[in-house]
């Protein structure tokens, strides 16, 4: 555990008033070695990187599923896969992309970046953070192991009852799906609490709320949305699981239950979920536009207001998924109006970005290119979204390929393009190396072309009568040519992703060294080295302007005095970020891992027997006490180190 030689050259580390601090801090914050160190780490950067990598693996799986579906649909009356396999494929694809990729990766980017961007040494609740990751990993693994055993979800990613109920979905497929929801929702709620605690309490001194980088604002709004939205799907899926496991009647119409209750509970989560994906992406775009336009964003207060407004209106749209179930006129009018006017805050942000580019001196590196792609693709999804807000039009387009086109334009345009921009932008911070620009441009153009070739024809297919979730179609439908086009587009997307993986692989090992701030960006994460040391900052920087690093001259003002021999970080006030407290952090511990294993076993067993829950809750006491009980030795160790330091012993 002791560091006498720093693992990186000192000049690569963030500036410190006392350079010796690096040696002490490194010794204090360093994880254990080997496998034990791997499962006990509670550092937000380690957890964040794992989270991102795990999401990318699920993304790959979800993409492969889409590939098989496009192969099946390339020709009418194709027999490549039968209806049973096809239903599993699209259910797995949708569930994977929403629950295991899009939402968690946006949050995972926050878990890595937010503490750095607010100048903190770690995330607010490091052990809880590790717990969230392990739960997420175990949940996704369970879902895919079930799929490999031909028990993959097959009732669609929104699993409408009664089709997903006990009577029409025998076997355990839907149970594993419902349990996946429980896993991912625990993970997402934990992450949301992390972000809120970190942003509100551990900002660098001087970073008052009106100086918060827009990405951090976006993450904060998202975290609150997660807290309000996730309990709804949790409640809904628990009802579903109980209907299937212990014969309750929440959704059983013959015993007073209601099939539409599920739709309300699901979409009260499901629509905000789109914004949970989209708002962090808006944050990426704002940071990238600022950096590559070489000037502060235009209309910062309006941007913040737009994010918050989007968060609020996002909860007033859910019924537009249910127009075909018959919604009373008054209600429908309200939901149509909300669904229409949510375009306004996004429009305002688009105008602000374009104005920023106009006023600035844009440098068209790969991240900014992806922002351009975002605008071109997302706006198409946005305008079709306004169309779908209309009840009469929705009744035609609902549940057809028009909606498939719309949702992919929104999620790929509004989520994936900014996310890829963000990868290229922050990869140097994650790895210390820049990604290849040449491969990046190939990656971008192939994705841009592929997405449009795949999804644009689907608008036409939908209006021509092709409904979604069909495993095949008749030759006489006349949909063959457009489906073939879409399938070719899917192939182009696959090639684009292959280019990305190659770029990632090569750049991780051989990319040019980035240095602390390769883009000359303004936010705090670029003040520290790339990749940052385990403690992020030796001395906490003081923020003097909204423009962060751009406002510093040659000198960075910092606060000193935090203990270096135990993990400590600075706590500041909610509004003005004035220092109020020194907060001790836990060191590496196996407790989160043990608790995640225990919870996962309980949830997996809960697929088969209700007794899993009382027994599982009782056994929870074990990891709970491991977690909370003061570890004997911690205090002694701290006292020893104190003594050591007071003697001035370490070299």
């Amino acid at each position: 555990m002791s560091v006498t030689v720093l693992p990186v050259p000192e000049q690569d580390l963030p500036p410190a008033v006392d350079p010796e601090d690096h040696r002490r801090l490194w010794r204090t914050w360093e994880p254990y070695k080997g496998f034990y160190g791997w499962i006990t780490s509670v550092n937000h950067k380690t957890v964040g990187k794992r989270y991102i990598a795990t999401c990318l693996v699920w993304f790959l799986f979800g993409g492969l599923e889409a590939g098989v579906m496009r192969a099946q649909l390339a020709r009418p009356e194709s027999h490549l896969v039968g209806p049973d396999k096809y239903n599993q494929l699209f259910s797995m694809h949708g569930s994977t992309m929403m629950f295991l990729f899009a939402v968690p990766i946006m949050i995972a980017m926050g878990l890595y970046l937010v503490p750095l961007m607010v100048g903190a040494r770690n995330i607010a609740y490091p052990r809880l953070n590790a717990l969230g990751y392990w739960i997420f990993l175990f949940g996704g693994s369970m879902f895919y192991i079930a799929f490999l055993m031909n028990t993959g979800a097959d009732a669609g990613w929104f699993a409408y009852v009664p089709l997903s109920g006990p009577e029409y979905s025998a076997g355990k497929r839907v149970d594993f799906w419902a349990q996946l929801i429980t896993f991912t929702e625990i993970a997402a709620l934990i992450a949301a609490v992390e972000i809120i605690g970190t942003v509100l309490k551990t900002r660098a001194p001087g970073m008052s709320l009106n100086r918060l980088p827009l990405f951090v604002w976006a993450q904060l709004v998202t975290a609150f949305m997660v807290i309000f939205a996730m309990p709804s799907v949790a409640t809904g899926s628990l009802f579903l699981a109980m209907d299937r496991l212990v014969a309750t009647h929440f959704y059983n119409p013959s015993n007073g239950g209601d099939a539409l209750l599920w739709q309300h509970l699901f979409w009260f989560f499901g629509h905000p979920e789109v914004y949970i994906i989209f708002i962090p992406a808006l944050g990426f775009v704002s940071q990238i536009v600022t950096t590559f336009s070489r000037r502060p964003i235009v209309g910062y207060p309006v941007m913040v207001l737009a994010l918050i407004t989007t968060g609020f209106i996002g909860f007033g749209l859910w019924v537009h998924h249910m127009f075909a179930t018959t919604v009373p006129q008054m209600g429908a009018g309200f939901f149509t109006a909300a669904s229409t006017f949510i375009a306004v805050p996004t429009g305002v942000q688009i105008f602000c970005w374009i104005a920023t580019i106009w006023l600035g001196r844009p440098v068209w590196r790969t991240p900014l290119l992806f922002v351009g792609g975002f605008l071109a693709v997302f706006v198409i999804g946005g305008v079709t979204g306004v169309m779908l807000a209309s009840v009469p039009f929705d009744l035609q387009a609902h549940d057809t390929y028009f909606v498939v086109a719309h949702l992919h334009y929104v999620l790929l345009g509004g989520g994936l393009f900014p996310l890829f921009g963000a990868f290229y932008y922050w990869f140097p911070k994650f790895s210390g190396r820049l990604m290849s620009e040449r491969l990046g441009k190939w990656n971008f153009w192939l994705l841009f072309i592929g997405v449009n070739v795949t999804f644009f024809p689907m608008h036409q297919l939908g209006l021509d009568g092709m409904t979604r979730r069909v495993y095949t179609y008749l030759e006489s439908s006349g949909w063959g040519a457009l489906n073939l086009t879409a399938s070719i587009g899917a192939l182009i997307i696959v090639i684009s992703m292959a280019v990305f993986v190659v770029n990632l692989w090569i750049s991780w090992r051989h990319g040019p060294l980035a240095g602390a701030n390769p883009w000359n960006a303004d936010t705090l994460e670029w003040l520290t080295s790339s990749p940052p040391p385990p403690y992020n900052f030796a001395d906490t920087p003081v923020v003097i302007s909204r423009s962060g690093l751009w406002a510093y001259g040659d000198e960075v003002p910092v606060v000193t005095g935090l203990p270096t021999h135990i993990p400590f970080e600075l706590v500041t006030t909610v509004m003005d970020a004035e220092p109020v407290l020194q907060h001790e952090h836990p060191g590496p511990t196996i407790a989160p891992f043990v608790m995640a294993v225990e919870v996962s076993l309980m949830l997996v067993a809960g697929v088969f027997t209700p007794w899993a829950y009382p027994i599982g809750f009782a056994l929870l006491a074990i990891p709970w006490f491991m977690w909370a009980w003061p570890r004997s030795g911690t205090k002694e160790h701290a006292e020893n180190v104190d003594a050591e330091y007071s003697l001035g012993a370490p070299a």
Partner: protein
């Protein structure tokens, strides 16, 4: 094997007032959308490529100009959205109103994976039961009462009207009018299990007198077979598995699991819009429905060839 019926099935090819007016709304949206998209892209390119002086500095004046643009464009956005909202709500209001002239009311009940159809009539004997087909008179407003026996389905005939869900425990209504005679395809639009893809049917819109004749014919019980082969077929139907699930009025077959087959020979399609109604297709369907619609509730039937021929002759006579 494959259904070749050329039926109109597109929201872009409307033949009734509902679909027609939604089509016009769509055209309005489409034009507006194209303008908006082009404006954003042109704005982006202009912002990126505008001429820049080498030493140009940010002045408060330029920044406030940007603010004015943002404010103005936001106002334009709100105005455009407000206009479409008003258009759209007004249309929605008129479309969901029940037409006071509704003269024909039909119950449509969803099953995995077929449609049960009942023409309502105050006199019970005059009610007509059929399946996987809907005949409507041209120019007459029709009300469909949508119900489901199992899972959620959705009735969608894009050329005629928007869709409505069939939800167990709920009663939905759909009003429409078909103004042009023809054959229109209906597709189940809400995912309903293994054979959701092959849950379709046809709407035949026909002149009033032709419709009246059809309805009168449907009210009759099944014709009694005249030749011996068909007679034997009827016996096969009543004694083999068929009658457990299917009804043919006028016979002992009273099953309710599958479609009513009383006038099956008059229908356009078999297996809920999957096959055209030919003797060969019917034979293939009876012998091995699982090959055509894997997972369908109807089992395969190992009939003797002679029995099968008789059955086909009988079913073919059910006009």
């Amino acid at each position: 094997m494959i259904l070749q019926e050329a039926a109109t099935h597109s929201a872009l090819n409307p033949i009734g007032p509902n679909a027609e007016r939604v089509y016009r709304l769509y055209q309005f949206f489409l034009v507006t959308s194209i303008i908006v998209w082009i404006a954003v892209i042109v704005g982006l390119f202009w912002a990126a490529k505008r001429h820049r002086d080498p030493v140009e500095a940010d002045t408060p004046d330029r920044e406030s100009r940007a603010h004015r643009w943002i404010f103005g464009l936001t106002a334009v956005t709100v105005a455009v959205l407000a206009v479409s909202l008003v258009y759209d709500l007004a249309l929605g209001h008129s479309l969901t109103r029940r037409d006071s002239n509704v003269m024909l009311s039909v119950r449509v009940i969803g099953h995995q994976w077929w449609w049960e159809v009942e023409y309502e009539d105050p006199i019970p004997q005059n009610r007509v039961h059929t399946a996987n087909e809907l005949h409507v008179p041209v120019g007459i407003p029709v009300a469909l009462k949508l119900e489901s026996q199992d899972v959620i389905h959705s009735f969608w005939a894009p050329s005629i009207s928007g869709k409505k869900d069939l939800i167990p425990g709920h009663h939905n209504e759909l009003y429409f009018r078909a103004d042009t005679a023809g054959l229109y395809r209906v597709q189940c639009a809400e995912f309903c299990g293994l054979q959701h893809a092959k849950m379709a049917m046809y709407v035949t819109a026909e002149p009033k007198d032709k419709f009246a004749a059809w309805l009168a014919a449907q009210r009759q019980p099944a014709p009694v077979p005249v030749d011996t082969l068909a007679n034997r077929g009827r016996l096969v139907f009543e004694t083999a598995n068929c009658s457990t699930c299917h009804t043919i009025t006028g016979t002992t077959a009273r099953g309710t699991v599958g479609p009513d087959l009383t006038h099956i020979a008059t229908r356009t399609s078999l297996a809920a819009g999957t096959l055209s109604n030919t003797r060969g297709n019917l034979a293939g369907w009876i012998v091995d429905p699982q090959r055509i619609k894997p997972g369908v509730i109807m089992p395969s039937n190992g009939l003797e060839p002679a029995d099968l021929q008789a059955l086909l002759a009988y079913l073919g006579s059910l006009k």
